[in-house]
């Protein structure tokens, strides 16, 4: 297998590349990122590409990738920060995905395309089941932030090609990866010593570890299945416990006050967490049902997130 990893300089990309290199069946890995960085071994090469330029994407696929006889592509390079908005971000998230799909389909050796989407594409409503399966409604609220709208559009752009393209396509809708530099909203939320949450609501949250996320992509590359797969993590716990396990102070605040408070935090300290992006999740949870991935990909979350605090003895016995 010869794999092209778009977004390889992100922690998830790096974890995946490491896994691929550990596998003797993988002959070559072509990393693509936006940072100047050089790593070249006989089995690994790096290409710096500005994904917002159509020509650059075209040249990458029809140039280096064709020459290396790449047969599988992993795309996980969506813009991470939820604070950046505008046409350039949209081009990076959606147009780049569209262009990459189009170009990859034109290269005869490329048979497989894996797109790393996110569980954030689902519409979170109190009328939805606690565990959302792949057929659950997507977030089409026009008032949703661009971060979500771009993800929904990119996800559907890839889904629309399933069965229409010579490549077999997999979309992985992964639960939030609670790790730094992954654009994780919860990670940033937990950086404050005091974490505010809506009073009277304590939804169940599921988080995924970087290792399990990389495993899911690895499995998606290994099978011939095509389709959309939810990827859930090994940790499911109430938001209040999540905050406690991170060693933070959990302070319930009446819901309507949270948006202005977190806007003030973003404005004064300038961090990533946006309450408007998480409002529904902080009320209803939004876990995904990964039954399909378990059955068809052989996926199963095994590695919990590395919690800074051990489980309190009050809860560790309640099994």
């Amino acid at each position: 297998m010869r794999v092209l990893v778009v977004g390889a300089t992100m922690p998830l990309g790096a974890a995946l590349v490491q896994r691929l290199l550990d596998d003797p069946d993988v002959e070559h890995v072509l990393e693509v990122g936006s940072e100047p960085y050089a790593s070249a071994t006989p089995r690994l090469s790096y290409q710096r590409v500005d994904l917002t330029r159509e020509r650059a994407v075209h040249d990458l696929v029809h140039g280096v990738a064709r020459k290396l006889e790449i047969d599988a592509v992993v795309h996980l390079a969506l813009h991470r920060s939820a604070r950046d908005e505008g046409a350039r971000i949209h081009a990076r998230n959606v147009e780049a995905t569209r262009q990459l799909l189009r170009c990859c389909a034109e290269v005869p050796t490329i048979r497989r395309f894996v797109f790393q989407s996110t569980a954030a594409v689902y519409a979170l409503r109190s009328t939805a089941p606690a565990l959302l399966d792949e057929d659950a409604a997507l977030e089409f609220d026009p008032g949703a932030t661009q971060w979500i709208r771009d993800r929904v559009e990119a996800d559907l752009t890839v889904c629309a090609r399933m069965g229409m393209s010579p490549m077999s396509i997999v979309v992985l809708r992964a639960a939030e990866i609670l790790a730094p530099a992954m654009g994780s909203q919860l990670w940033d939320y937990l950086q404050s010593r005091v974490c505010l949450r809506p009073l009277g609501f304590d939804p169940m949250i599921n988080v995924l570890s970087l290792e399990d996320a990389a495993d899911a992509i690895r499995l998606a590359l290994a099978t011939t299945s095509q389709g959309v797969f939810n990827i859930a993590g090994a940790d499911t716990l109430p938001l209040s416990r999540l905050i406690a396990r991170w060693g933070r102070r959990d302070v319930p605040v009446p819901g309507p006050l949270l948006a202005p408070l977190y806007r003030l935090r973003a404005w004064s300290i300038g961090l990533e967490f946006r309450y408007d992006l998480n409002l529904r999740r902080f009320h209803v949870g939004g876990q995904v049902d990964d039954t399909r991935a378990r059955a068809e990909l052989g996926y199963g979350a095994t590695r919990p997130t590395a919690w800074p605090r051990p489980a309190g003895d009050d809860h560790s016995t309640a099994t």
Binding site: A128, L199, A311
Partner: protein, 258 residues
Amino acid sequence: MSRLPPAFHDAGHGYDVFGLEPRAVQRAAALCRPIYRHYFRATSVGIEHVPTSGAAILVANHAGTLPIDGGMLWLDVLERTGRVLRPVADFFVSSFPIINTAFARVGVVGGTRGNVRRLLDDGELIAIFPEGVTGVAKPFRERYRLQAWRVGHAELAIRHRVPIVPVAIIGAEESWPIALRLRHIRAFGAPYLPIPASPLPLPVRYHFHYGIPIEVGRDLPAEAADDPTVVSAAADRIRDALTDLIAAGLRARREGRP
């Protein structure tokens, strides 16, 4: 009491995916037990009809302004079988602050197809009140008359081949008569604000009558659950069984039998 639910599906941190926490179940049981024993002085007949393991659906009548009958049924099942009943609540319940969390911790789930399917696959014991909100708010003169009967429970029973145990709850329908339903007050998505006729529920004795399990899906393929005539016939059968059970329960109460 340190009894843990026999079929607790820990999702990794001492909670199941719906938010049930065994410790919270014990706390809630300790809190409700005096009310159950000394205020409503509950008795129960036919608990042997409730399977001690595996999925099953309890179908009961519903009344009483607030779903106190659901709470008492939950405790009766817990006390007598050790199983944590998973009552299915209307959607709007998950929008109530505090209540939604308390309910989730003791096992209540939102009434969506996906949730119920998951519970049945996990072999849980669920409770459905097919009268829904119209039952809770039925006027006093309509007591023990089953209101608008939803058919979801019959469909689920056929599709998942699980038995239905009808449960007649006698007492709850007189304990807290409703005086008014303020339909223009729709706090947190509830269809109305109920105003009871008394400040507290009256201390009416509760009697639970568990009926013989009904296997509506026994001779049917799972796809029969998609046939509306089959489903409504099954729902009618369950409704008739519950109506008979309620009549028998009322008769027993009149005659002073348990």
